[in-house]
């Protein structure tokens, strides 16, 4: 029996091989890359994942695990001749234990669903990537996803307490536990962010936090991006620790306004700052924040007076990515990070690059974390424009590394950024990643072709 026959016998009725059924799995949210997989498998439980991974191992067939396919870096792009393990049917919250403040979930559970289920107990799951109404926790774990609240609350890795993982050779292993503290190497912490290269997480234990008692959400308008960036530095210098600080530039504001009519003022730059915590504490911090924003030269300031007003402020920010789609047929989302104090410098250089390449760039970013999201607008129908957009995006990544930052804050390396890994890491670092990959996956089957650049020079 060949591989496909065995696969179909193993999971009857859960294997897709027809062209039309495979088409939706050809790419993830980075649609510039497409590959037709050999088959798509829809397991409904961890035993089925284990059986499929073992079969792949026996036959030497590569596999890519994916959830909703929201990866913006091509992290869940299929491998030619390989299969896709689509985990969306593994979407049960296995246990929600408010006393222990944990949730044990399958990888196909959607991020926001955890907070929804935890809400009646006054708890929530902190990591909130913009894709949280759609993206799954398995994917969040693979990419160590972030969101607007990373400065204060950390990334996905900080909220994963334990994992059950199927290794690329089909062994099942438990990493971590249920406590906030463990003993021995932090293996579950290491697994988070390895982008599916070291196995498939089939069960995830998450920590939950009490929902903050009060929020104070402020929107400030500036005449320049630089002023908005400086305001962020001022906030930090005064010793405040907001839950989130976000900036949008004119192009992003216009797009968001057209899309969701958030009622934003006309501005070159908008800054959103959100304080959160016990109400007495938030009230005092709000006084300091008010002073800082006045000093920072904002010409219009709005403070949300109700939950509805707070949601209105966030609505525009959260819609910004998709809204930019209205301004241009296609766009690339970049995800570089720079030290916070060098935001101004980075933005100026991005503007210069935008002019030099003749492509518009809209900027939306998590300013508190120095996490930039330049959206490079292009038209895929015009010959050469995608290549030009990719080259411009690449220059932005180089800039981030040059300023002491990182290639990615939350989207991962995937296929999109692997060529830039040598900009950030020395050959020895990359070779070590390869050695680890080979030790755990000697046949190179798990998410082959992602993260690690093909050629690592020197050493």
């Amino acid at each position: 029996m060949g591989f496909l026959e065995e696969l179909k016998a193993l999971l009857p009725g859960k294997v897709l091989t027809q062209e039309a059924a495979l088409a939706p799995y050809e790419s993830d949210a980075l649609t510039a890359y497409r590959k037709r997989p050999l088959a798509v498998v829809l397991p409904e439980g961890k035993e089925e994942v284990v059986a499929v991974v073992r079969l792949c191992h026996r036959h030497g067939v590569p596999f890519v695990a994916r959830g909703s396919g929201t990866s913006l870096s091509g992290g869940s792009l299929p491998v030619e001749g390989g299969i896709v393990l689509a985990l969306n049917r593994m979407n049960r919250i296995l246990r929600l234990d408010p006393k222990a403040r944990i949730a044990v979930v399958e990888p196909g559970v959607v991020n926001l669903e955890v907070s929804r289920q935890a809400a009646p107990f006054g708890l929530y799951y902190a990591p909130d990537p913009s894709s949280q109404p759609v993206s799954t926790l398995g994917g969040n774990v693979a990419f160590n996803s972030g969101g607007a609240h990373c400065l204060k609350y950390g990334m996905t890795a900080n909220h994963v307490l334990g994992l059950e993982v199927v290794t690329p050779e089909g062994e099942v292993v438990r990493l971590g536990g249920e406590s906030l503290e463990g003993v021995g190497p932090d293996l579950h912490g290491f697994f988070v962010g390895t982008e599916g290269l070291l196995g498939v997480a089939v069960e995830i234990t998450l920590r939950l936090l009490p929902k903050p008692e009060a929020y104070h959400t402020l929107l400030a308008a500036y005449e320049s991006l630089e002023q908005a960036g400086n305001a962020v530095s001022l906030v930090i210098r005064r010793g405040l620790l907001p839950g989130a600080m976000e900036i949008m530039d004119r192009l992003a504001i216009e797009a968001a306004e057209k899309a969701v009519q958030a009622g934003y003022p006309q501005a070159e730059a908008l800054l959103i700052v959100e304080l959160e915590g016990p109400k007495e504490e938030v009230a005092e911090e709000a006084l300091v924040l008010g002073e800082v924003i006045r000093e920072s030269g904002a010409y219009a300031v709005r403070v949300a007076q109700s939950e509805a007003e707070r949601q209105a402020i966030w609505k525009g920010r959260k819609a910004a990515f998709s809204a930019v789609g209205r301004l241009s047929p296609d766009y690339l989302v970049q995800d570089g990070v720079v030290p916070r104090s060098r935001l101004g410098e980075a933005l100026k250089e991005i503007q210069r690059l935008s002019q030099a390449f003749g492509l518009r760039v809209a900027n939306v970013f998590h300013a508190g974390d120095g996490n930039l999201h330049p959206l490079v607008l292009y038209d895929g129908k015009k010959p050469g424009e995608l290549e030009r957009a990719e080259a411009l995006a690449g220059e932005i990544l180089r800039l981030c590394v040059r300023l002491g930052g990182s290639l990615t804050g939350e989207h991962g390396i995937g296929v999109e950024k692997k060529a830039y890994m040598p900009e950030m890491f020395a050959p020895e670092d990359l070779l070590t990643m390869e050695r680890v990959k080979r030790a755990l996956d000697p046949k190179g089957l798990a998410n082959r072709g992602k993260v690690l650049p093909e050629v690592v020079h020197g050493g």
């Binding site: 007495e280 005092e284 720079v338 002491g404 950030m424």
Partner: protein
């Protein structure tokens, strides 16, 4: 035998020279750093000093042998601190030793533990290669996160050389409330309740049999108001409350594990409030559950250690026993990482 390394080059040389090495920082966790038969002790106390510190970025980078005390002095000058509150500061603990042991103190309750604040590392692997993991910015998802692998690794994968951490502003004012309850059951029930409330306490400890200690931080007026609110809540639950006068000095003693002095064996045990009853049935000495009951630091003797093992409860011995880690890390994952990073088995564990 002891070898000292005070530069990266000397660390690389030592790794290439000696077949069995056990790294040592301040020596405050002797169960982890004391060399076993056939091992050379690699002392890293000289590999010390802060390399970069940008208060406005909430980030610093330092050599692994830098004493926690030195780091905290530098941070304090800018109103900042290490929110995971590394233990054994006064005894001379270093950054590297703290990471390798994976230890956090009582203030971890507010923002999280060591694993939440380590941003990046450079280390020397078992073949003498210098490897970097993570970075120096507060948000980063590029490449394999070797920095997290080294948390609690007991030196198994390499010698830590350089570390980058996130830090936060220290609250302008702090106050501490002690609440005594009639029974362990009532103390536990209250602890579980407090864990679900948005109180944002800096620390919340259970001191057996039936005492809770909570530390508040923030703007002075807010702290005063919240202290009154908390007092009222605790009194309603039948607790006797008192406000501790020596707030700062008291918690320094706790984070330095002074309550364990006099015990022959010191252990750290991952816990949960739901596990407290099981743990309390064991013959343990002086002890304290930190972070709302998430971790137990206990002093005990040979009998207590034996009881922990018999109960199958994971733990780490800091002092007083040869075999520090129970259970050993999972073979299917750990052994392969060890093979990749320390193929000759130069370092502890596995």
């Amino acid at each position: 035998m002891e070898v000292r390394a005070s530069t990266l080059r000397e660390v690389v040389e030592a790794v290439r020279t000696y077949p069995r090495l056990r790294p040592k920082g301040g020596g405050t966790k002797p169960a982890l750093s004391a060399p076993r038969a056939g091992e050379v002790s690699l002392s890293l106390g000289g590999l010390s000093g802060i390399l970069e510190y940008a208060p406005e970025e909430f980030v610093f980078t330092a050599w692994a042998g830098t004493p926690i005390a030195e780091v905290e002095e530098a941070l304090k000058a800018h109103g900042q601190y290490l929110p995971f509150h590394p233990p054994l500061r006064a005894q001379g603990a270093t950054l590297g030793g703290t990471v390798a042991a994976g230890l956090s103190g009582p203030l971890r309750h507010r923002y999280g533990g060591l694993r939440d604040f380590l941003l990046g590392v450079r280390f020397v692997d078992g073949e003498g290669r210098v490897v970097r993991g993570g970075g120096k910015v507060v948000k980063n998802a590029a490449g394999f996160p070797f920095h997290r692998l080294l948390v609690g690794s007991l030196g198994a994968f390499g010698i830590l050389v350089e570390l980058s951490f996130k830090v936060f502003p220290f609250p302008r004012a702090t106050r501490t409330l002690r609440a005594t309850l009639p029974s362990r059951e009532s103390a536990l029930a209250l602890l579980e309740r407090l864990r679900l409330l948005p109180l944002e306490l800096l620390a919340l400890d259970l001191v057996p049999p039936a005492t809770l200690e909570a530390r508040l931080g923030g703007f002075p007026q807010s702290v005063a108001a919240r202290l009154e609110g908390l007092k009222a809540l605790l009194a309603q639950e039948g607790a006797q409350t008192e406000v501790l006068e020596e707030d700062e000095a008291y918690w320094e003693g706790v984070r330095d594990l002074r309550f364990l002095e006099g015990s022959p064996i010191w252990v750290k045990v991952p816990a949960k409030p739901q596990k407290v009853a099981q743990l309390e049935a064991l013959p343990l000495g002086p002890r304290r559950y930190l972070d709302g009951g998430e971790v137990l630091y206990a002093g005990l003797d040979g009998e207590g250690l034996e009881a922990l093992r018999r109960a199958g409860l994971p733990h780490l011995v800091l002092k007083g026993a040869e075999d520090p880690l129970y259970p050993p890390p999972p073979e299917a994952f750990f052994a392969k990482l060890k093979e990749a990073l320390d193929p000759k088995g130069r370092f502890p564990l596995g």
